[in-house]
Symmetry: C2
Subunit: 118 residues, 2 copies
Amino acid sequence: MANSLLDATFAACAHPIRRGILERLATAEMTVGEASRDFGVSKPAISRHLRILEEAGTIVRVVDGRNHRLRINHESLDEAGAWFTDQRAVWERKFDAVEEFLAASKENDARGKDGRDG
Amino acid sequence: MANSLLDATFAACAHPIRRGILERLATAEMTVGEASRDFGVSKPAISRHLRILEEAGTIVRVVDGRNHRLRINHESLDEAGAWFTDQRAVWERKFDAVEEFLAASKENDARGKDGRDG
């Protein structure tokens, strides 16, 4: 995923109303009204949040005559989520390496002792 | 994870230099210099990025006399990554439900035909 798209996706997810809209759209495709009601903010505020979500590619607006329906873009969120998974994989490998080193050291110690004892 | 902390974590990750610093720190604890060199920006800019990362709880500064070392906070990134995993689980359940419905419809159709044929 290009850096700038990842920037936009994370920025889009950095607001509780925008995450709320994405959480609703994860369950189903919805009208703008369904996806955005009961957040207790003005229509212009909702429009701004939707624009940020659309520009980041996290949602898609399907225009059918006068009907605007919103659909989540799973791929975009999957790719952003993968960044976290990748970091986790890096530090898990690091911990594995430390554990292997400690296990090898212990074994060497034990062998050393056996040598002295025997 | 509290909404405001999740906001801060996603905002912290919404910049390539800050992600770059986190990617380095995922591999090891480092000095500020090691974690922040070669990004081609000024020291004050780096300080601002580090402050955003610290305030979001994504990194911890370990002060040892005049030595400042930076350490990644795995838990914070894991919890932010879990938000994406949760959304994925929701839409995967949705697709499973659709598939089950389609499979059940097919089976019913087949039974209906058997009934007429028999």
